[in-house]
C-alpha cells in the first residue's frame, strides 16, 4: 500500500469495495442466510482480502478448507495449496506471513498437535496469521468427535486464543480477528477455536455483511518487525533476532522478547474489547449461581438456565469469548456475588475451570464440571443435574430417564 493513501472506497479485482471495517461489521446491512459453520468460514474469507491460504485435510475442518479452495478458484484468495502435513502447512503459512501476506489456515485435533512447534514460533516471530481450530479429540483411541482438550495446549503458545460459540461469532470474529491481530502493537497470530461439528456442520441463521464489501488489504509495513521482502534496507537482517547459548546478554534478550510477546497479548485487550464489545458477555450476574464457560457449552448453559428457571432456580451466565487475552478482571467482577460457579466443559481435564479458579477469590466456589469428552454431547439436563446435586437438591437420575 502506498504510504498515506487509503484504499477505502476503491475496488479489488473481483469488484468488491474495500470498506471501512467498523462500518462493514457494525453498520452495513446484513442478510440472514442459512449456512453451516464451514460455509460461514468461506463467506468470512470471501470478505477478508486474504493473500494466502494453505490447507491440509482433517475432519471436521476439511470442508471449510476445501470451500476456501473454491474461493481461490473464483479469484478471491491470492494463492492456495494443499501442504504436506500440518507441521508443514503451519511453516508454509509462516513463510507467507514473513513475506508480508495476510494468511489464513484451518486445522483440528491431531493436526493442531502435529503443528504445535510452529505456534510459539509464529508468536515469537510476530506473524498475524489467523488459524481456525475446529476442535476434535486428540488422544487415543482415535476420535473425530468434538472435544476441546486441544485448546489447553494453545493457551501457552503466545497466540491470541478466542473461542466462538456460534457460526455468527465465527463470521464476525474471523474478520474482527484480523483487525486485532494486525494492530502494530499486537501483531500476533490468532487461534479462533470452535467446537467441531456442533458449529462446523450444523446449519444456523447467520447474518452476513454484503458480499461486495471486503476488508482493506493487510499492510505488512505496519508490522513492528521487518517484513522479509528486501523492500526495506538490508542491515544484516534476520527474523527474528537469533539467540544462542553464549552469554548472559543473549539469555536476557530471549527473556525480554518472550515477555514482549506476552505484553503484546495484553495489549490486544483494548482492541479486542473494542471489536468484540468486551472479552466476556454476562447475564444476571447478581444470581447466586453462575454458569461460566466458553464455546458451545455456553449454548448448553443457556438451555440449562431455562430448565432451572422452570424449577424456580435462578442462574446467571458468563460467556468467555477470549481465552488469550484472559479476561481475569471481567470474570472477577462478574462472579463477585456468585456463591456457586459451574464450568461445564467439552473436555476431560477442565482447563477452563482451572483458569477461573486461578483468577478469582474464594475459588472453592468453582465447581469444575460437568465434563463431557470424546465427542459426547452435553444435554442441558446434565448441567442441571450437576448444579442441583452440588446444591443438595434432588436431581433426576439421568440413567433412569424414560424407563
Amino acid at each position: 500500500m502506498a504510504e498515506g493513501k487509503s484504499v477505502i472506497g476503491t475496488q479489488n479485482k473481483k469488484g468488491q469495495t474495500y470498506t471501512d471495517p467498523w462500518y462493514m461489521l457494525h453498520e452495513a446491512p446484513r442478510t440472514p442466510s442459512f449456512f453451516t459453520g464451514s460455509e460461514v468460514i468461506k463467506e468470512a474469507i470471501r470478505r477478508a482480502s486474504c493473500d494466502v491460504m494453505i490447507a491440509y485435510p482433517i475432519t471436521p475442518q476439511s470442508e471449510a478448507a476445501a470451500l476456501i479452495g473454491e474461493l481461490f478458484a473464483e479469484g478471491y484468495v491470492g494463492d492456495y495449496f494443499r501442504g504436506e502435513s500440518e507441521f508443514a502447512v503451519m511453516s508454509e503459512c509462516a513463510g507467507a506471513a514473513f513475506g508480508g501476506a495476510r494468511v489464513f489456515t484451518t486445522t483440528a485435533g491431531p493436526g493442531t498437535m502435529r503443528a504445535m512447534e510452529n505456534f510459539p514460533m509464529w508468536a515469537g516471530a510476530r506473524l498475524p496469521i489467523q488459524m481456525i481450530v475446529t476442535c476434535r479429540g486428540i488422544n487415543s483411541p482415535l476420535s473425530i468427535q468434538p472435544d476441546t482438550l486441544e485448546i489447553s495446549y494453545l493457551l501457552n503458545t503466545g497466540m491470541l486464543v478466542w473461542h466462538a460459540e456460534t457460526a455468527q461469532d465465527f463470521f464476525d470474529w474471523i474478520l474482527k480477528g484480523y483487525m486485532v491481530a494486525e494492530e502494530p502493537d499486537v501483531h500476533l497470530p490468532l487461534a479462533l477455536c470452535c467446537d467441531g461439528f456442533f458449529v462446523t456442520h450444523t446449519k444456523d441463521v447467520v447474518h452476513l455483511t454484503p458480499a461486495d464489501m471486503c476488508l482493506p488489504p493487510y499492510d505488512p509495513y505496519r508490522s513492528p518487525v521487518p517484513c522479509m521482502d528486501m523492500e526495506c534496507p538490508p542491515v544484516r537482517m534476520m527474523r527474528d533476532p537469533f539467540v544462542m547459548k553464549s552469554n548472559y546478554i543473549s539469555y536476557a534478550t530471549h527473556a525480554s522478547w518472550q515477555q514482549e510477546v506476552w505484553a503484546a497479548v495484553e495489549r490486544s485487550r483494548k482492541h479486542t474489547i473494542h471489536w468484540l464489545n468486551g472479552l466476556i458477555d454476562a447475564e444476571n450476574t447478581d444470581a447466586d449461581i453462575l454458569i461460566v464457560t466458553s464455546g458451545t457449552a455456553v449454548s448448553q448453559g443457556r438451555e440449562a438456565i431455562r430448565l432451572l428457571e422452570d424449577e424456580g432456580v435462578r442462574c446467571g451466565l458468563v460467556k468467555v469469548k477470549t481465552l488469550r487475552p484472559w479476561p481475569g478482571d471481567e470474570i472477577r467482577e462478574a462472579t463477585k456475588h456468585a456463591k456457586h460457579i459451574f464450568v461445564p466443559e467439552f473436555n476431560v481435564t477442565g482447563w477452563l475451570a482451572k483458569e477461573i479458579r486461578a483468577t478469582i477469590p474464594n475459588s472453592d466456589r468453582v465447581h469444575a464440571g460437568p465434563h463431557v469428552c470424546g465427542g459426547m454431547t452435553m444435554p442441558p439436563e446434565i448441567i442441571v443435574s450437576e448444579i442441583k446435586t452440588a446444591l443438595g437438591m434432588r436431581a433426576m437420575s439421568l440413567a433412569g430417564r424414560g424407563s
Binding site: 493473500d51 494453505i54 495449496f81 513463510g95 507467507a96 513475506g99 521482502d229 537482517m237 534476520m238
Partner: protein, 301 residues
Amino acid sequence: MSKERIKIAPEFFEIMPPEYQDLVQRATFGKEDRGWKDIGTTKELIEEHSLCAGCPESMAFRYILASLPNPEDTVMVGSTGCTSLVFPHVAVHNIHSLFGNQNAIASGLKRALTVRFPGRIKDVVVLAGDGATVDIGLDMTLQAWFRQEKFTTICFDNELYANTGGQESGLMQKGFVAKMAPVGKTFEKVRLPEIARESGCHYVVQCTVSKPSLVEKVVRNAVFVAREIGPTYLQLYTPCILEIGKNSMEGLQEMRDSEKPTERFAYREYVSDAAKQFLAELAAKEKEKKAAAKQLAAQEA
C-alpha cells in the same frame, strides 16, 4: 535494482554504524556482474561469522553471497544448525524459523512475494545443513520439489549433525562411527542428488566449495533456473573439520581430496531439458551483450 533502497538519509549518515556506511558505499548491490572476484575489494554481504576457524561453511557462505545474481531482491531461508550462527551477519533478509521446515517456509514466502509483487523478480534461496535437508526436513524438501516451487535449495553437506556435536546424519557415509551411531552408520549415504532429479528439480549439482568460480557458476545457474523453470538443488561438501579431526588449515585439502573423480564428491550435474534450453538462451544473450559492449568500446576508442 540499485543501491537506492539502502541509501541513508544524509542527516543520519554519520550516526550509522561504519559497517552499514560501508554497505551503502561499497557493497555490490545493483552490480550486474557481481561475483566471487569482488571478494576482498568490495564490501561483502557477510560481515563476520562465529563458525569454527577454517570451517569450510564460512568459505561457502562468502562465495554464495558474492554470487547471488540479485541480492537486493533475494530473501534467504535458513534452518537450525551451524549455518544459523552465520545468518545474523548476512546483509540480505533471511528467516530462521524452526529446524527442518526451511523448504516449507520458502514455499510460503515465495508464493507471498509472487502475490505481492506480480511481474517483479524476487529470488528465494534456502540454505541449510544435511540434517535439516535430508533428515528432519526431508518430507518438506521433497514436497517443495514435487510442487515445483520456484526456489533454490542449497544443502551444506558436512555428513553429520555438527551443531549438536557430531551425530549420525542421513548423508553420513556408511560405517562411520558417530555419536548415536556407536557401531558405525548402518546404511548408505542417502542419494539426494538422484532423488532431487527424480523429484522434479531442474538443475542439480553436487560438488565441494574448493573452487570459488565453480560455486559462482552453479549458484547463478541454480537461481536463474529456479526463477524461470522450477526447483533447483545444490549439494555442497563443507566438511566439519571439528568433527572429522582436522585443523583449521586442512578444510580445503579435505575438499580437494574428496572431489577426485573416484571420490564421493566428484562433480556431478543434472540439467533438465527445459533448463538446458533456458541456460543456452541465457548464455547466448550474455555472449551478445559482451560482443555489443566490445563493439561499443572499439567504436569509442
